[in-house]
Structures are given as C-alpha cells and as structure tokens.
Amino acid sequence: MKVSVFVSPKQGVLDPAGQATLGSLRSLGFEEVSEVRIGKYITLRLEGVDAERAEARVQEMCERLLANPIIEDFRVEIER
C-alpha cells in the first residue's frame, strides 16, 4: 500500500524558503503569486497492514517523527 505524507510549515510560522521563492517568482514576472509555502512530500510503502490500521500507524509516525507539531502541519493520503 502506498502512503503519501505532506508536511507543511504551519500558518504563521516564518517560511524563509517560501519567502525567497515568492520573491524570485515575482521578479520573473509572476506577479499573481501572493504566497509560497514550501514543505515536504514523503512517500511510504506499507506491507502487511489493512488501510484502517495503516492510517493510525502513519498518523503516529507523523506525530512522533515525520513532522514537528510545533512548526509543521501534516496530511496523510492512502492509496487503497
């Protein structure tokens, strides 16, 4: 089973990489861009668990290691 995890900086947390990229996009003429946030895209392959259990397990992985809840939000997508 393939699992995708999206980790992004929390709203309100300074994202210097996003800020720099926003500045660069605007200087290239893409003035319609008002915000850029840069996070992480992590894919996992799980074996020997059903989808329900996988969801709980990945949730726990995110809370313990993959994301830092002080500065990051995360979202999990499971391909069934």
């Binding site: 947390v13 300074l14 210097p16 990489a17 290691l65 830092n68 002080i70």
Partner: protein, 232 residues
C-alpha cells in the same frame, strides 16, 4: 569532574569539545557513543555540534531517537547537567528536553561568524562565572538557528529567567540588527525549568583559547566547573 561528550553519526564538533575539556580545562572526559544506554558515571553531558544523521528530515529529529537519548532524558530528569551546543541544542528541542523548535535562518544561508551575546541570567550552572549583562564574543555556525516557540512558551522563558543568552551588538544592546538568524526575542540560549539542561547555538568550544581569537567561551566551562564544585 567527569564529562561525557555524546557522539552521534554525523557529529563533527565532538573532538573540539573533547580537546577543550581535556587539554584546556584538564578535566576527565570520555566520548559516549550514541548506542550507549548508561550515562550515570558522568557529572556533565555535552551534546556537540555537527550534522547528526545528516540533518535529514529536520535537524536533530533522528538523533532524538538514538538509544543514548533515553538515558540522557533520564539523566536530565534526575537533575544531571546536560549542555547541547548547536546541533546538540536542536536535538534537545526535538527530544522535548527544551521547549520550542528551530527554523531556517531568515537570511536563508549558512552563517559562520563571531557574534556578540549578552548574558541575561548569571545565576545558572552555565553562567555563574559571568556578570549579568556581560557581553561575550563567541562564534556561531549554523543553517537553522532561528529559534521559535509559541507566545506562552516565550513568556514563560522570559518570566522564569530561562533565556540565558541573547544576540546583541558589541555594546550589549539587543536589536534586530544584532540578530543573525531571526531567532524570536534574539534568543541564542535557553534552559529548562530546572536550569540543569542548557541549549545554545554559539560554540563556546571554539572560543576557549587565545589562538582561536576569543576565550569568552571559557565562561561557560568555568561556570560548569564552579557549579560542580558547589560554588555556582
């Protein structure tokens, strides 16, 4: 006094710390490999700088689960002295032994230079050899030293005197211009509630000999030793 310098795969300042403790302070010191599970024989543990586990995922995030960290947490709970320098500070944050988190430097590049630091609390195991308000000149070298925490945590740190070092100008004025990485409240170093765990971004081991251009880092080591001798 017996120091333990904890070494993670990717640490790279452990030899500098070992050298200062052994050759400059003349104290007993061991390297402690990250797979060790007993740290009870030490009087002070040092988590050195570097790039533990390549800083993959987040700085300190993987090191925090090294076997030794459970022992370090237990040691800290019992009041043992733990100092985390740079990557060591990041590991203490990820481990929850200190509050808050690190973001990338606002300037977006790696900074390696001398900075000035104001001693905000001189009655701790880490700063008792300094005068309150004393300005230290110690180098930093990091990509992610932009300390952040929620407003309640920052207020708690302030009210409890747990902000130990702040970035300042050579005269000791804390200002935005003197903040190299964007850290909240110009924070360069903080303590836990018991003041026995200390994390700081600057490298005192790189400012402990004349040859290196500053001996201001000695204040930290001398404070630790004074505290251990019961004079702190």
């Amino acid at each position: 006094m017996k120091f333990g310098v904890v070494v993670f795969p990717g640490s790279n300042c452990e030899m500098d710390c070992h050298h200062v403790i052994d050759k400059v302070l003349g104290e007993d010191v061991d390297y402690v490999w990250h797979q060790e599970t007993d740290v009870s024989r030490y009087d002070c543990l040092v988590l050195p700088g570097g790039f533990s586990y390549g800083d993959y995922l987040r700085c300190g995030a993987i090191a925090r689960f090294s076997p030794v960290m459970e022992a370090v947490a237990g040691y800290a709970r019992e009041g043992g002295l733990v100092i985390g320098i740079c990557n060591g500070f990041q590991i203490l944050l990820e481990a929850g032994l200190l509050p808050g988190a690190m973001l990338r430097n606002t300037c977006l590049h790696f900074i390696c230079c001398f900075v000035h630091l104001r001693v905000e609390n001189a009655s701790t195991p880490w700063t008792n050899a300094a005068a309150e308000g004393q300005v230290l000149r110690i180098p930093i070298a990091h990509n992610e030293g932009n300390y952040t925490a929620d407003a309640d945590t920052l207020r708690e740190l302030r009210e409890q005197g747990r902000i130990i070092l702040r970035y300042c100008d050579p005269e000791g004025a804390v200002s935005e211009e003197a903040n190299p990485n964007g850290a909240a409240d110009n924070i360069a170093g903080i303590c836990n509630e018991g003041f026995n765990v200390f994390g700081l971004m600057p490298h005192p081991e790189r400012a402990s000999e004349e040859l290196l251009g500053s001996t201001d880092g000695m204040v930290i080591w001398e404070s630790i030793m004074a505290h251990h001798r019961g004079k702190g």
